[in-house]
């Protein structure tokens, strides 16, 4: 029912509980990787496969929250579902603030667990789609010539061709040609679509664009 590429990373120091949860998740069709501590997980290369992390909050060494905060700083961090033996309000609040998908207390209900894992995986999938789109836009953007990039930012800024021609001190006809080429390279059908793409550009790209604009 789930595709095999998805991996659930289960981090809990309690071996017995960890194995039980892993068995349940495997029964549900997930591939499960188990870690006895947050450190063990961090030592691994950042997982490439889609999936999620299930993290116990009560563990020796760096606590689950600390690990999560570390993970959140990584670019491609996996969504995290928290587990806790005792879900006190401050901990829960802090966990949710760092972007946890869900916060479950032990013993966990199967449906809630699976729902949380599914939600996490969906979030991961969404993120991955967005990342892909973002990378696509960026690669299109980088394929633009300097003049085309200037025209991109000018259009995003809402300028009309005449205005652009005056700004760039070129003929309006020339602007139209560059604009057609740029729209084709960016595969944008409308100015609105172009504007949305602009938001996906990284600040660096934006800056370079700004620089080009300036």
């Amino acid at each position: 029912m789930n595709d095999g590429d998805v991996v659930v990373h289960l981090i809990d120091d309690d071996q017995m509980f960890r194995r039980a949860l892993a068995a349940m998740l495997e029964a549900a069709g997930y591939a499960v990787e188990q870690y006895a501590s947050a450190g063990e997980f961090l030592l691994q290369d950042a997982p490439r496969a889609p999936g999620c992390i299930i993290l116990d909050l009560q563990m020796p060494g760096p606590s689950g929250l600390e690990l999560h905060e570390a993970l959140a700083r990584r670019r491609d961090s996996l969504p995290v579902v928290f587990l806790s033996g005792y879900g006190d309000v401050p901990t829960t609040a802090r966990a949710m603030k760092t972007g946890a998908v869900d916060f479950l207390t032990k013993p966990v209900q199967r449906d809630m667990m699976l729902a949380a894992v599914q939600a996490a995986i969906r979030r991961d999938a969404n993120r991955r789609t967005k990342e892909r789109q973002k990378r696509e836009v960026q690669s299109r953007f980088t394929s633009l010539s300097a003049r085309e990039a200037q025209i991109f930012w000018s259009i995003v800024d809402g300028k009309v061709n005449k205005q652009i021609a005056r700004d760039l001190n070129i003929a309006e006809r020339t602007v139209k040609t560059y604009r057609a080429q740029m729209m084709s390279k960016m595969r944008a059908r409308s100015v609105a679509e172009l504007a949305r793409m602009a938001t996906e550009l990284e600040p660096d790209d934006a800056r370079s664009g700004q620089a080009a604009r300036a």
């Binding site: 309690d14 017995m16 509980f17 194995r19 039980a20 949860l21 068995a23 349940m24 495997e26 029964a27 549900a28 009560q58 563990m59 020796p60 033996g85 005792y86 032990k106 013993p107 966990v108 209900q109 199967r110 667990m113």
Partner: protein, 640 residues
Amino acid sequence: VARRLQRCIAIAVIGAACSFDAAADTDVSPRNELPWRVLILQGYDPWLASAVQFEQTLRPTLYANVPRFVDVYTETLDSGRFRSSDLEATFLALLRQKYSHDRPDLIIAGAPFALDFALRHRAELWPDAPIVFFGVSPRAWAGRPRPANVTGQLLDYDPSKTLALALRLSPHAASITLIAGVTEADKLRMQATLAAAAKLAPRLEIARLDNLPFGEMARRVATLPRDSVVLFLGLYRDARGDTYVPVHALEQLSGVSSAPVYGWASGQLGHGIVGGALTDFEEEGRAVGQLAADVLTGRVSASAPIRDPLPPGCAVDARQLERWDLSERNLPTGCTIAFRIPTLWQTYRWEAVTAVVLIVLQAGLIAGMLFQRRQRRRATLEVQRMRSELSHASRLATVGELTAAISHEINQPLGAVQSNADAAEMFLDANPPRLDRVREVIAEIRAANARSAEVVRRLRTLLKKNQLTFQTLDVNEVVDTVLQLVATEAHRRGVTLRADLQDGPLRIEGDPIQLQQVVLNLLMNAMDAMAEVPAVRRHARIRTSANRDSVSIHVSDRGQGVAPGDMSRLFQSFFTTKAQGLGIGLSVARTIVTAHGGRIRVENNSDGGATFEVVIPKGRTHGEVVSEHASNTSASEIAK
């Protein structure tokens, strides 16, 4: 004789002088007069028991009742052993020579034979002296003419009372055996006895052992049937003509007799007879002595009526009663029991009383001490119970603090069970069902269940109310158990616990649960001490080590340490520096350690925090003294 004469004259002269003096001096002294002379004329051997008894009381009675000095002479005819009629002339001549000058003032003559002699020769020997007789039976007296100036005390021989006593003591007696010699007196008693027996017990068989040599008598007496009774009537001479001292003969015969022997004279008592209605010759002597004194002083006329016989007295020998197994209950009332074997009580009465008093005093003392001991023991038990209550309360409090950690401990395996059950269900629902995984998962469930049960068990053991029970235990095991209990709590509080346990079992004698409590209290205390310090510094360390004859446990923390002013009060009850503390943890720890004969102390570390050291001896040195000390400690603590 000449010398005696001279002395008599001398006495007479002095007496005359004295009487002359007395004429001038009215103060009359007995010595101033001539002494009265009294002659006792015995018919038999004067050393016969009855004769000895008789004279022993007669003489003092006489002396005491006469105001003048009395000279008493005794002569004997000994007619039992000698043929006195042959000797009479010679004896008479002797008496004549002895008493012709110093004539007796009174004759006391015993037994008919002597009385007859005295009367016969009265006119020649002592014409003026009155005669007092004794030892004459009423029957012997009855046939005589009453001579003048003669009075006396009759002596009755009445065998019927003795016979009655014998039959009373031996109610099933079938025969009566009579022992007697061949003298006149013996024969008279035999006749009287036969008559009495015929009247008293006509159906009983009568065996006579009188006309026999002594040896034959002894032989026959030794083979008598047990159900017979024997009467010893007297034995001065046997059929062979041998003479005997009757009591000696009696002793020999009763010694070999196979049946109880009875007698009739008080002198026989103690010489083998069971008893009888006994003529008391001491009484006879007293009565005759009194009569003689009265006649001598003129208080009683020498022609006064003859005195009736004195009644015989019932007397028995306790030793013989016992020998023949005769019951004292069958004795008639008023019967004297002589020679009663003194009981231990009679012999050792004072020793026994003293011993009993001592024993009673001692027993009282012991009882008092036992009572005191029991009181003390009860008090000790009460203190122990209170201490146990307190330590139980302390454990409850500690476990209360651990609640979150413990619920986590139990929750964890419960969560595993839950997930495993879910997994099992899903593996079963898969197509095809993954039974191998189901089996694995069930094994996991079982393990998780065991784990939660173990947590509950540990908890229950710790919370159980228990008395101090000593057993051999491993200190490392105690520490391990507690570490498992507090591990979760330590993690919850962000405290890192480090255990350095010396290898090998560290065995001591102790109560495992109480020692768990000590370790638990110290670890909780260490964690409490670090509540305010930064997380990186929250390290607690527990260390065990064996010394030569003790085991040490060190618990260190890196908290604030103990303020110098608090050091001395740290182990007191209800002293606490914590906001929520009860202040009993450390005091209970100390009480327990003390009860184990050990000690506990605290020291601040040089690099911050404090170290608690518990030292417990390996051997079981806790004893009365130690536990008492512990009781006192906890008692005073409770009192505070």
